[in-house]
């Protein structure tokens, strides 16, 4: 099948071709214009921009905690407005089926669930496999489990840590490794209530810093393309900017990704002792090329916070709205908290909103800042179109600012920042850079040989509308969306690494699980066939 997109404006910062050019797809892959061949299918996309499919690096779309949030909040579906559709189960609010449908309609073709507890990997993958159309991936959580902490306490070799991480990544089918408030979940079980970068986990005598640095080094040695994905300590607390600054300073020449930086952008100035430190953090990021970050932008309205940072979530119970929550002390890296929350246009909400935008606008390199709301923690991903508009229009920011708390905004630099993201910068931030950060060489751009994940948007004054309803979306060359509606159903893959497991480590794992849990290792692992879809996984290679 040969497909030709004619007359569009191509935004493809990776390949410096002419802006006005046709895009050709053959058998699911992008190709150079073929000589003397006629397309089987031609789409007139004049008046439209053409980009690679978007990639979301951090969105909680499936797994135990997301599902517990559904259980807790059957009334929450209004946040995921159903829209008429004619595809199976895609009207099911906040379901896996709707997740794939809504993402595709916005031109997103790959989404990463960033928090898979290793012991619940099968559950996560069952959910990801039921998200239609798009490709998925997930990061394995490490750093709060007895096995890792014992290795570090006992001064075991870094080779053994590498073998363990490789085994976890391989057996859980992860694309990378995440650490969440390193050591705090273990410490919370021992009744520790606050935990900073140099605090030490009781029983193990290992600091949060030591855990992060050890995992960061191991991920790099193993050639895992995505740098260690760090959810730092002290999320959401006034003064957390100091923790973020400490973490940024700890990269020491090795790549590190800092998740949802907005939630650490807070100082202690002002009458309410809650102020913006975004400008300071942005400067630190600009000066440290080892660091990439995503924002976790706050948008207003009802949402639910879902996090494996159990210590943080426990302290948030009192602010739950509606008044119910789940706190789970899970096995090792599992667990977390589900706390519903409504972001109001009050002092706190306004400040958080502004901090996110300041970070977006003051961090100069679009290759190192990533577009997220930490769905659903800052806002549901369905708020993305409005966020694009805020980034691309200083007028839209000014207009929204007039509705918000003026005292809060005065403690930020937002009003003075007039930068507007260009379409090229949007394409870098949401396509090219995520592909590079995750090690996905086959996507994120429109060069020949890339898979044909293509999003076409109708240009218009209404930026939010343009990004809400893609004119056309192709996934691996299949036309899946037309005029903002899914028209064709297909199943994507879950992208995973597959480092070869070390035999001695498998034996160690077998012994460990039998001794500590009284169960054989096969209770914790699963074959691909358990997913019951054709070839549910696709392998991504590690760096050599």
């Amino acid at each position: 099948m040969l497909i030709r997109l004619v007359g569009g404006e191509v935004i493809d910062p990776v390949n410096n071709g002419p802006r006005q050019r046709d895009v050709w797809i053959k058998d699911g892959v992008l190709i150079d214009p073929p000589m003397g061949e006629t397309a089987d299918q031609t789409h007139d996309v004049s008046g439209c921009i053409v980009m690679a499919g978007a990639i979301d690096i951090h969105s909680h779309i499936g797994g135990g905690n997301v599902n517990t949030a559904r259980l807790l909040l059957p009334e929450h579906h209004a946040a995921h407005q159903p829209r008429p559709a004619h595809t199976p189960l895609s009207n099911a609010g906040w379901s896996t089926f709707q997740t794939g449908t809504l993402y595709a309609q916005m031109g997103f073709t790959t989404v990463v669930e960033p928090a898979m507890a290793p012991y619940t990997a099968l559950h996560t993958h069952l959910e990801l496999a039921d998200i239609p159309i798009i490709d998925k991936a997930t990061l394995a959580i490490l750093g709060n489990d007895d096995f890792t902490l014992s290795l570090l306490r006992n001064g075991k070799s870094s080779a053994m840590l590498d073998d363990y991480i490789a085994w976890v990544v391989g057996s859980t089918r992860a694309l990378g490794v995440k650490v969440i408030n390193a050591g705090a979940a273990a410490a919370f079980k021992e009744n520790v209530r606050s935990f900073s970068f140099d605090d030490v986990v009781p029983e193990y005598g290992v600091s949060s810093r030591k855990i992060v640095k050890s995992l960061q080094a191991s991920v790099t040695r193993l050639g895992i393309p995505h740098p260690l994905h760090v959810h730092a300590n002290n999320l959401g607390i006034a003064g957390s900017a100091d923790t973020a600054a400490d973490t940024i300073a700890a990269t020491e020449g090795v790549p590190l990704h800092l998740a949802h930086l907005q939630f650490y952008g807070y100082g202690t100035e002002g009458k309410r002792k809650f102020s913006s430190e975004a400008a300071r953090l942005a400067e630190l990021i600009n000066a440290n090329p080892d660091v990439t970050i995503d924002i976790g932008q706050v948008m207003f309205g009802q949402t639910v916070t879902i996090s494996s940072d159990v210590m943080r979530q426990f302290t948030a119970i009192g602010n739950a709205s509606p008044k119910k929550s789940v706190i789970l002390d899970g096995d090792g890296n599992g667990g977390g908290g589900i706390v519903p929350y409504r972001y109001k246009q009050d002092y706190y909400g306004s400040l958080q909103w502004a901090v996110g935008l300041e970070l977006f606008l003051l961090i100069t390199d679009p290759w190192r800042v990533f577009f997220t709301t930490d769905h659903p923690n800052g806002a549901p991903f369905t708020a993305y179109p409005e966020l694009f508009e805020l980034l691309m229009s200083s007028g839209a920011r000014d207009a929204k600012s007039t509705e918000l708390n003026a005292t809060a905004l005065e403690l930020t630099t937002l009003a003075s920042v007039r930068r507007e993201y260009t379409l090229e910068e949007i394409a870098i931030m949401t396509r090219a850079a995520p592909a590079r950060l995750l090690g996905l060489k086959d996507r994120g751009h429109l060069g020949p040989g890339a898979i044909a994940d293509v999003a076409v948007y109708r240009k218009g004054k209404d930026i939010a509308r343009m990004f809400r309803e893609a004119a056309l979306v192709f996934k691996n060359g299949d036309l899946v969306v037309k005029n903002g509606k899914v028209t064709h159903y297909r199943w994507g893959k879950t992208l995973r690494l597959n480092p070869p497991p070390d035999k001695a480590m498998i034996k160690r794992m077998r012994d460990y699980h039998e001794e500590r849990y009284g169960l054989s290792l096969d209770w914790f692992t699963f074959p691909d066939s358990a997913i019951q879809r054709d070839a549910p996984f696709a392998e991504v290679s590690c760096n050599s």
């Binding site: 009207n91 609010g93 896996t96 079980k189 009744n191 209770w523 019951q532």
Partner: protein, 366 residues
Amino acid sequence: MSVAWVGSQPVSLMDAIQNAAKLLASSRCPVFTLDTDVHGTRSAIALAERLGGAYDHGLGETLANEVSLFTNHGGMFTTPGEARRRSSLIVLVGEIPASHHEMLESWAASRPDLGDRNKRLWFHASGSGTVSADTSKLVRKLKAVSLGGDGLSLEGALAVLRAELHGRHVASPLVNVAQFRQALNKSQFPVFVFSGTSGEAAGLVMLQGLIADLNKNGRASSVFLPADDDAWGTALTSLWMTGFPPRTGFSNSLPSYDPVRWDVQRMIREKEADLHVWMSTRGDETPPARGRIALISLSKNETPTAGAAVTISVGKAGVDHDGVTYSSRVGTFRAVAASAPSQLPSISSIVQQLAEALPGRRALPC
């Protein structure tokens, strides 16, 4: 050996599928009673959506009680693995289903290797309602100290316990509270083990209130052991597929959750439903007393189900075929291999065939 029947007549599987599909196609309001693994549940819910039906689990009443703890309140929980490794003080709450007794006994045979590492102590909190002989036997075996109150419901007993732990004076104290207080002081991570069978919904909420109290200054948590692992697995699967737990119905492909409106047994009794698709893979079960509506039975039986228009024999995941089930041993899903592989088809394969025999012949999404 026959695997399919129309009425009591053995027929080919193809004939049974055709007959069942005809009933489904002409039904105005089909209802589904589920009892299968994750993949059977996925297919059945996809079929219910296509037909505009409603679904519930065979143990829908108990499941609804368990679900309501979350939809109304939430709470603090831990996993069986963490409790085994970390908790030196376990409090069993009310009636604990027999299917979990073996696991609890295995905890008793092990010693915590994390946290305070003290020898494990056991208590049993209950109202004055009787617990089953099985649970009484378990309580004796574990040498669990009774924490009960005469004439009190579970909610009442736990309320008294909360008050006593707060140091408030109570008119009629529970037995053994002093001993319990002593155990609490020594244990860094006490865990309350409960189930949907432990007591009424208000009792489960009171238990979470007690745990919240204990977390003000120290740590404590609970292990939720579902009354039935398969039912809980169905609830979790339903949540990601539709956003809702069972007792969900579809109209115009929009799911809605309503534990009264979509109570399938009620819909059958009150003739709101006109076709019942009854699934049961645990073997030799019969559908509950029913109203006079047509019945399609997908069950692990060697004989036709009495009163069913169509019966198809199906296998059980983990016995006849591979599958994925919820397991309280690990507090999550587990891949299960067939222990005695047989020719009996899986629910999911039969449901797929039913969908493809319907007008339009479209495959289900799962």
